[in-house]
Subunit: 145 residues, 2 copies
DNA sequence: TATTGTTATACTCTATAACTATA
DNA sequence: TATAGTTATAGAGTATAACAATA
C-alpha cells in the first residue's frame, strides 16, 4: 500500500470511531458522563486513585479543567477526593463503588469490541503495527481500496 | 490470541486514531475549520449550494448555530451567501473556489468510510450504541460472532 | 523556586426564545 | 399560519492568569 493509501485507510478507521463515539455519548449521558468525564473514569480504572495533576497530563487538558471535571464526577457519586498520604498539596481522586462499576462496564465493552475485531486471529500473527492495521482494514470489507 | 492480545491490538489501533485525529484537527485549523465547519463544507460538496435550513437539518443543529458557522466560513473565504432564486426569505450557501478545493480533499479522505458503512441506513435508525455496534460488526464480516 | 489545586475571567460552541421578513 | 434567518440570552466546556498552600 502506498503512503497515501495507508494514511487514507487510517482516516477510515478514525471515521469508524467517530461514528461509534457519537452514539456512545447517549449512553454515557445516563450516568451523567460525557467524553472527558468518561475518560477520567477510564484512567482511574487503569491507574487507580490518582492526583489531579496526573489526570490533567493523561487527558491533555489544564489542571483547571480537571477541577471542574472532578467536581462533576463527585456530584454524580462516581469519585471522591481523598487526602494524598504524603503530599498535603495534592488530592487523590478515587473511584466510588459505583464509579468502579462504571469503569468495569467500560472495560467489558472494550474487551468485547477487541474480541469481535481480533478474536479469531491466531496468537502471534499480528506482530507489527502495520499487520494490525491491515487486519482491521480487511475487516472493513470489499469496499477497501 | 489471548484476551490481552486482542485488547493490545485494539488499543494500538485506537491510539493511532487518537494521534491521527489530533493531526487532522491541526490540519483543519490551518483552513480556519473545526469539525462542525468541516461538516458543512462536506455537505455542500455533496448537496451543492444549500439553504441554511437544509444544513441545520443535515448537521442536526439549530438554525442559529448555522448562522454562526456560515459566518465563520464566509470570513475564511470558503463559502458565500447568495440570494435564493425563488424564495426571498432564504439564502443559498455556496462554496467558493477555495471551498471546493477543501471539499474535494474531504471527499477522498476519512469521511468516505462513514458514508460507506452508514450511507444506506435511514437517518435516526441507529439510536443506541449497541445498534451501531451490531451494524458495524455486520459490515466487518466473518469475525462477527 | 517549583508544584498542586483553586478562584477569576474570557472565549468558543450551541441551545432556547423572541423577532422580522417573506411565503 | 408557517417558514427562513437573525438578534438576544444562557449554559457547558475549557483556556490563561493570578493566587495560596505546600514541597
Amino acid at each position: 500500500m502506498t503512503l497515501q493509501g495507508w494514511e487514507a485507510s487510517l482516516d477510515r478507521v478514525l471515521a469508524l470511531t467517530v461514528v461509534l463515539g457519537q452514539d456512545m455519548a447517549a449512553q454515557l449521558e445516563r450516568d451523567g458522563l460525557n467524553d472527558s468525564r468518561a475518560h477520567i473514569i477510564w484512567e482511574l480504572g487503569h491507574r487507580g486513585a490518582s492526583k489531579q495533576a496526573a489526570l490533567a497530563t493523561a487527558l491533555g487538558v489544564t489542571p483547571r479543567a480537571i477541577t471542574s471535571l472532578v467536581d462533576a464526577l463527585v456530584s454524580h457519586g462516581l469519585v471522591t477526593r481523598e487526602p494524598h498520604p504524603s503530599d498535603r498539596r495534592a488530592t487523590l481522586v478515587t473511584l466510588t463503588d459505583r464509579g468502579e462499576e462504571v469503569a468495569h462496564s467500560f472495560r467489558v465493552g472494550h474487551q468485547e469490541l477487541a474480541r469481535r475485531l481480533f478474536g479469531d486471529v491466531p496468537a502471534g500473527q499480528l506482530k507489527t503495527f502495520d499487520a494490525v492495521l491491515e487486519h482491521v482494514l480487511d475487516r472493513l470489507g470489499p469496499a477497501h481500496t
